[in-house]
Amino acid sequence: MTVDLRKDFVTYAKDLNKASEDTNIRTAITRAVSSYRNTVSETLERFPHTPELAEEVQGIKRHSMANLDDLLKQAMDSVERNKGKAFFAKDHQAALEIALGIIGRGKTVVKGKSMLGEELHLREYLEENGNEVWETDLGEFILQLRKERPMHILSPSIHVPREQVAEVFSKFFGKEVPPDIAEEVKVVREFLREKYFTADVGISGANVVAVDTGAMVIIENEGNVRLATGAPPVHIVMVGTEKLVPTFQDAMKVAEVTWRYAQYGVPGYVNIVSGPSKTGDIEKVTTYGAHGPKEFYVIFVDNGRSDMAREDKFSQALHCLRCGGCMYECPVFQVTAGHFGHVYMGGIGAIWTAFVAGGMEKAAPLVYSCLRCGRCVERCPMSIEVPAMIGELRERIVYGKY
C-alpha cells in the first residue's frame, strides 16, 4: 500500500501560512507569551522549591507509566469502593459509547474543559445523539458558539478578541452585548447558571488521579468545574490513563507542578472528587445525593496510551502535564497557534496525534513542521525529549513503519 502525503503537506503549509498572517493570533500570542514568561518566572521565585518538586514528579510519572495496568486496577477498585462506578474504555469508540450509555438521550449536559473531550469529540457525539451539551469554560463556550476548535490547550479562544466575542454573543443571546470583557463574562455567567441547576449530567476531566484513594483532582480558575460537577445529579469523569499516580500525596505534587507551569501560580480552585455526594446526618444512615451528585461515574480511557507506555522511546510523552508551557516557547506555535496541531498541539501534540488522536498520517505534516529546536525541553517541567521523539516519528513515516 502506498500512502501519498504530498497533498497533506501542501494543504497544511497553506493553513500555517494563513495562520501566520492572522493579526489576531499574532497579537494574542505575543501578549500571552510575555505574560506567561513573566508570571512563571515570578512564581518560581516565590516558590523556589518547584523545579525540585518537578524532578520528583518525573520519578512519580516514570514509575506510574511503568505500572499502568496495576494502577488502573487499583483506581477502578477505589472508585467502586467509594460507591462510584468505574469503566475502562479501550478506545475512542468505547469511551463514547460508555458515556452515552450512562447519559442516554434528550438530556442536558454541562461540561468542563477537557483535552480528552476534544480528543474524543465528545460534545459533538453527545449532541448527535440527541443531547443538549454546554461547554462551561468561557473560552470553550465561545468556540462552541463560533463552531471552532481550540487554539491553545489552556486558553482555547486565545485568538478571539473581545469585539468578535461581542459579535457572536449578541447574535446568540439575541440582544446587544457590548465589546466589554466584564459584560461578556456576565452574560455567560447568567446563562450558564441556569444550565448548571437544570442539567441532568455534569462531565469533567481530571488533571491527576490518586489510585489509592480514587481522588480525582481538577484544577481550575473560573469555578465552572465546581458548579458543573457539583450541581447536576450525575457526575461523569472522563480521564486518560496517563493521569494515574499511586498515592494522594503524589497527586498533590503533580497538581502543584502542573498549575505552577500552567501560569496559575496559585489556582482559584482545586477540586478533589472521590465519589457521590452523601450524608449520614439522619440516624447515621448513609444516603447519597445530599447536595451534590447522587451518581458518580469514572471512565478511564486508554485509546492508544498503553501502546505509548510500552514503547521505551515514547513512554515519556505520557508524562505531559498539559501545562502548555512548551507551546509558549515554540517558535512555530508562536506564529500559528493551534494550527500547529490536531487536537493536541505543538511538538508534544504531534507525538500525541500519532499515537492517540488521529494517527501517523494526520501527524506526519505536524511532525515535519517541528523545528526540533529543543526549547520546549528547556521549559518542560517533565523534560520531555520531544525532538528525539520527533526524529523517531520521522523515521517511521519515511519508511512507512507504522
Partner: protein, 326 residues
C-alpha cells in the same frame, strides 16, 4: 507500507546518498575555496566543512523555487522531476540555479577560507579532504532517513579515516552534532574527538587580535550549539577577547529562539516569518550587528531580514577574520 514524501525531501535525501551533498554540488566546487592554501590531505586535525556554507546560496534558490511555485502543481512536479533527472545523469546541478548571485556565492564560499585563516593565525595546523570531502549526512538524520544514513556514513567515515586524523574540527554545529552523537551508534569504533571551530578559537582566545567594530554586537546562539553541544559562554569569551561590546537579546544561550532554518525547505514562508521575528528579537538588545555560528542560522537570519533593514548579519568566522587580517 510505502509513503510518498514531499518531493523536495526525496531530492535532498537522494542527492546526499548518491552525490555526497544535499544539492549534488560537485566535490571540486565545494572545495574550490581551498585552492590557494594547498592544505595537506593527511594530518592529526581534520578541517571539516561538509560543504555546508558552500551550498547556502543554492539552498536559497531552491527555496525561492519552492516559494513561488505551488508544490502540488504540475509545473513544480515537472521541475523537480527534471532536476532529479539532471542529477541522475550527472549534469551540473548548479546550472539549474542560474539565479544565484555571484556575490552570495563568493561570500559563502569564502567563509571556509576565512575559518581556515583564523585557525592558522592561532597556530593550528590541519588537513582537509578537498574534493573527496563528503557531507556529514546531518539532514538525513534531521529528516528521518536513518536507514539510508547508516549506509551513507560508512562512506563518509572512509574519507575521514583516510586523513589519519584523530580530531575533527567542524564549522557547522549540525555536523558536530551528528559526528558526536549519531556516528558512534552507526559506525563501529568511531572514536574521533569532535570539536567545533568555536572550541578551537576559544582555547587560544588570548592570542586573538583586537577587532575594530563600528558598534555593539549581539549573539544569536544556534540551537544545536547552545542546547545540544552546550556552547554559549565560549562565544562571549571569544568576543570579549577581541574587545567587542556584546549585548544580549532577551532570549539567549539555552533559551535561544530558533532561526526558523530547519523547516525552510518544507515550509519556506513560515520559516521566513520565524527568521524575521528572531532578527527583531535580537535587535531588541540594542545592537544591530548580529553574529551567529551556524551556516543555517546565518542563511535563515539573512533571509528573515526585511528589505532596507540596517542590521548586519555575519557568521562569527567572518567577524573574527577581520582581526586576523590586521
Amino acid at each position: 507500507m510505502e509513503t510518498k514524501m514531499p518531493m523536495v525531501l526525496d531530492i535532498i535525501s537522494e542527492n546526499i546518498i548518491k552525490h555526497g551533498n544535499p544539492l549534488a554540488l560537485k566535490g571540486s566546487e565545494v572545495a574550490s575555496w581551498a585552492k590557494e592554501l594547498d592544505l595537506p590531505v593527511k594530518g592529526e586535525l581534520l578541517f571539516y566543512t561538509g560543504g555546508e556554507y558552500q551550498l547556502l546560496p543554492f539552498i536559497d534558490s531552491l527555496v525561492k523555487t519552492i516559494t513561488h511555485l505551488d508544490q502540488g502543481s504540475k509545473v513544480f512536479s515537472m521541475m523537480m522531476g527534471a532536476r532529479n533527472i539532471l542529477n541522475k545523469t550527472g549534469l551540473n546541478a548548479e546550472k539549474m540555479y542560474a539565479s544565484v548571485l555571484a556575490k552570495d556565492k563568493d561570500r559563502y564560499n569564502s567563509v571556509c577560507l576565512k575559518a581556515a585563516k583564523v585557525l592558522h593565525g592561532l597556530g593550528y595546523e590541519f588537513c582537509y579532504s578537498g574534493n573527496e570531502e563528503l557531507y556529514s549526512g546531518a539532514l538525513l538524520y534531521e529528516l528521518g532517513y536513518l536507514e539510508d544514513m547508516k549506509n551513507y556514513v560508512q562512506k563518509v567515515v572512509e574519507v575521514i579515516r583516510n586523513s589519519g586524523a584523530k580530531t575533527i574540527v567542524c564549522l557547522s554545529p549540525h555536523a558536530a552534532e551528528v559526528f558526536k552523537f549519531i556516528y558512534p551508534k552507526m559506525v563501529k569504533g568511531f572514536d574521533l574527538e569532535i570539536v567545533t571551530f568555536v572550541d578551537l578559537v576559544w582555547q587560544r582566545r588570548d592570542q586573538l587580535a583586537k577587532i575594530e567594530a563600528s558598534g555593539a554586537v549581539v549573539i544569536h546562539d544556534s540551537c544545536r550549539l547552545a542546547r545540544e553541544l552546550g556552547i554559549h559562554q565560549e562565544l562571549r569569551d571569544i568576543l570579549e577577547n577581541v574587545g567587542a561590546d556584546v549585548k544580549e537579546s532577551p532570549r539567549n544561550r539555552e533559551w535561544t529562539s530558533c532561526c526558523g532554518g530547519p523547516i525552510k525547505i518544507l515550509f519556506p514562508e513560515l520559516s521566513h516569518v520565524i527568521g524575521s521575528r528572531r532578527v527583531n528579537e535580537l535587535k531588541e538588545s540594542g545592537a544591530e550587528h548580529i553574529l551567529t555560528s551556524c551556516p543555517y542560522c546565518l542563511s535563515a537570519l539573512e533571509g528573515g531580514r526585511t528589505k532596507g533593514d540596517s542590521a548586519i548579519i555575519e557568521d562569527l568566522i567572518e567577524f573574527l577574520y577581520r582581526g586576523s587580517k590586521a
